[in-house]
Amino acid sequence: MSENESKKRNVVVFACNECGQGAMNTAGVARIGYDTAIKIVPLQCSGQANPVLILEALKDGADAVGVVGCCIGACHFVNGNMLSMHRIKLMKKLFKELGYSDQQINHYTARAAEGETAVGDFEDIMVRLKRAEKEGNTLPGGW
């Protein structure tokens, strides 16, 4: 296995109480496999995902951070998912302005009844992370 493949990664994924964790539970029940790099942090709503926490995760050494909320229009708390999207979009721009990849963070959506939506999101995170690692412009951990 190449170094890239065998490397032990830690990806912090914030998941909302409704569709985020719901889809992840459904994925587990269906035994859909994904990378052990994915570590889930339960939140009440994806709109609770604070950029301060996302940066802390990266500073602590996380290789990537994802936020998984309900589908657009279906947020249990009205528009929490949209609020998170706005903030993460600005963070991605910040990273780009500093010359770093903007692919290490993203906001995703999932459907509680469909486990593959969460797993698809996880796979997207890993694909983008590995691409950023290859391009050599990932954020340094622990700044």
Binding site: G28, T36, G61, F77, L83, R87
Partner: protein, 680 residues
């Protein structure tokens, strides 16, 4: 439990809160095998060994099935023997067994919020069957994250809040009346607020109801009379809800009552109306006839009294002079009443879609007086109508020889009107077509449709009967209604898509089956109630499948067409459900609310107000007295949206504070190591 016992429990909980701040936490970690489900993939003993190295973990063990009785007993034993003050169970999902363990520790006297559930099954052993080492390392990280999180947890009080023993029903149509009647029967003091001068809503405007062709006035009369005279009901007509304060269990509602200009001693003799010189189109009759400036909506109206239309009135004072009871009083003013209720039912119904928007149908245009809606047709045919129940054309008063109905006007349309299917128009068009055909067998009746939708018992049979009576069904959506400029003859232009034949149907009367749309007033009312609307404008239910009766706001329930187009039996059924849900907390006398709420550090708060905008249930407000930002503890849903909105992190949700989640993240961002990680 007795009041004394309740008091003691509250005191104990308070002591727990204080104690939790002083002592070092004593955490117990329990790792479940879940039979083969976890243990075959995750090396649970290694996870337990790792947990033992973590600070504040005074007890760690594994067991086959933590959720079983012996498993629960192990937890309880450890609590008692090791003086644990919080627990971490690493097993399945929080939804599955979180409550099981929470209940167990509560039985041992620990606040149930001191339990932290860690999912190493759905989130670890099951998706990582192929990577046992990776899964074990991840499980260690997850348990450490749970332990870190557990360290700073605080007990959360479950408070009982007593409710105001009264309910408000907004809207006195069939749904509102049914809800009010059911509430009154449960002994609940019920306020009914109706903006029109009479109760009964659209149902009382109808001629007949499908599929049995019964008279709706007769069906609804026991209800209108019953509600109007029920000792538990306070009926307010000419009234609108202007403002709602408070929260579930204790709402304060401002109701604005418009003046009738007619006093309570009115005997309903009708002399005022008879002598009034002013005539305007009757809204009740859907514009099919005229009424006076001082009028009663219709003869059987309840309340049985008159009302003066100030805008139309020319103030000649004839009514004042002729009234034998001297009941006409021009000096009456608008008044605002404040009522206090525990729950609210919103039942403001629907409006009929206005087809003027569809220019090709020429509704309301000169020369097209014979293009009417189904509601207007009902008003022509009803007993005591302007035509004495005869089917006469508005233009020349003659009986039409050809009646063409057009379905889906304002429904199922991507260009104008609405995308949805109203779902009731097929039935009421078929009903009216049969009524016309039964009364006038020589009239040619045709219905232009896209699909005929008649679900439910008896309705398909109703449709078949219509076909047997010779009513024609043409599958095609008419492109326009044409008018011969010389003769004035109307033609419906439609393609019969079953035979691919373009048709030009000569029609003497065209009846449009217009959609049911949200009532015009729902914008302001919805905002006053702070309930969500969906993009069609109807009020959004709490859950599209599992709770169509609750609104997005706790304590406000929905009944009838306001939650989406529906027919009378559906409205009545939903109204009963709404009454039951609205009555429950009032009959019980209290609601229970977990005080999982944010706290605000006023040293950091800059009073920007963004948390107020971000708060999804509108549970944050500025206190008028000191202008400080404060939390409504009852309305708060613990969603945490306020946190990231705050520029200074002044507002922090209990048990979900930034520092608590940072502790959790610290364990997940890097590989596990003995002694764990401390967040700097």
């Amino acid at each position: 439990m007795t009041e004394a016992e309740e008091e003691t429990e509250l005191v104990q909980e308070t002591e727990q809160v204080e104690d939790a701040g002083k002592k070092e936490p004593r955490i117990g970690v329990f790792v479940c095998h879940c039979g083969h489900n976890i243990a075959d993939t995750v090396a649970v003993e290694k996870v337990v060994e790792y947990a033992k190295t973590l600070p504040n973990v005074v007890h760690a063990e594994d067991y086959m099935f933590m959720c079983s009785t012996p498993g629960i007993d192990l937890i309880k034993k450890a609590i008692r023997e090791e003086h644990l003050d919080r627990t971490v169970v690493a097993s399945c999902s929080k939804t599955q067994h979180g409550p099981t363990f929470a209940r167990a520790i509560e039985e041992e006297g620990i606040n149930k919020h001191m339990h932290q559930q860690v999912n190493i099954r759905e989130w670890c052993s099951w998706p990582h069957i192929k990577d046992k080492d990776g899964a074990t390392e991840k499980a260690k990280q997850e348990v450490e994250a749970g332990v870190n999180r557990s360290r700073k947890l605080e007990p959360v009080e479950t408070r009982q809040i007593s409710t105001t023993p009264a309910a408000l029903v907004i809207g006195a149509g069939i749904a509102g009346l049914r809800a009010a009647s059911d509430l009154a029967a449960l002994g609940v003091r019920t306020y009914v607020v109706e903006k029109e001068s009479t109760i009964g809503g659209h149902m009382t405007q109808l001629n007949k109801t499908f599929p049995t062709q019964e008279c709706p006035q007769c069906s609804i009369s026991p209800l209108t009379n019953g509600v109007a005279h029920d000792k538990n009901v306070t009926l307010m007509t000419m009234a609108q809800v202007k403002n709602v304060e408070g929260s579930f269990g204790n709402f304060k509602v401002d109701v604005e009552i418009s003046p009738r200009y007619v006093k309570d001693n009115c005997t309903s003799c009708g002399d005022c109306s008879a002598h009034c010189p002013v005539e305007v189109p009757s809204e009740w009759d859907s514009g099919m006839s005229m009424r006076k400036a001082i009028y009663k909506a219709y003869p059987q109206a309840i309340p049985s009294t008159y009302v003066r239309d100030k805008k139309a009135c020319i103030e000649c004072q004839t009514c004042v002079n002729v009234c034998p009871a001297q009941a006409v009083d021009f000096s009456q003013k608008k008044e605002t009443k404040r009522i206090e209720v525990g729950t609210i039912i919103l039942a403001t119904g629907y409006d009929e879609y206005d087809p003027s928007e569809i220019s090709a149908y020429h509704y309301h245009q000169d020369g097209y007086e014979d293009v009417i809606t189904q509601l207007q047709l009902e008003r022509l045919l009803v007993a005591g109508s302007i035509t004495n129940s005869q089917l006469l054309r508005p233009s020349d008063g003659r009986i039409p020889r050809r009646v063409t109905m057009i379905q889906c006007v304002g429904s199922r349309n991507d260009q104008v009107g609405n995308k949805y299917c109203t779902g009731v128009c097929c039935m009421f068009a078929i009903k009216n077509a049969q009524i016309v055909k039964d009364a006038y067998p020589d009239i040619d009746v045709a219905i232009c449709y896209i699909d005929i939708r008649t679900p439910g018992l008896n309705n398909e049979e109703f449709f078949k009967k219509a076909q047997e009576k010779g009513i024609k069904f043409i599958r095609g959506r008419p492109g326009e209604i044409q008018r011969d400029p010389v003769s004035g003859q109307l033609y419906v232009i439609v393609e019969d898509t079953l035979s691919n034949t373009p048709l030009k149907i000569k029609s003497d009367l065209v009846v449009l089956s217009a959609a049911m749309v949200p009532p015009k007033s729902i914008g302001t009312l919805g905002s006053a109630l702070q309930v969500l609307r969906d993009k069609t404008g109807f009020i959004k239910e709490f859950h599209i499948k599992m709770n169509p009766v609750k609104s997005s706001r706790d304590g406000i329930f929905l009944a009838g067409a306001i939650q989406g187009p529906k027919d009378i039996p559906q409205s009545v059924a939903q109204a009963g459900a709404a009454a039951s849900l609205a009555a429950a907390p009032l009959v019980r006398g209290y609601i229970e609310k977990e005080m999982l709420i944010p706290q605000i550090d006023y040293d950091l708060c800059v009073n920007c107000g963004l948390c107020i905008s971000a708060c999804s249930p509108n549970a944050i407000y500025r206190d008028a007295a000191d202008n400080k930002v404060k939390i409504n503890e009852i309305s708060c849903k613990a969603c945490g949206l306020c946190g990231p909105a705050c520029p200074t992190a002044a507002i922090q949700l209990k048990n979900f504070r930034d520092d608590e989640i940072e502790d959790e993240i610290a364990a997940l961002a890097v590989a596990p190591r003995e002694g764990g990680h401390v967040h700097e």
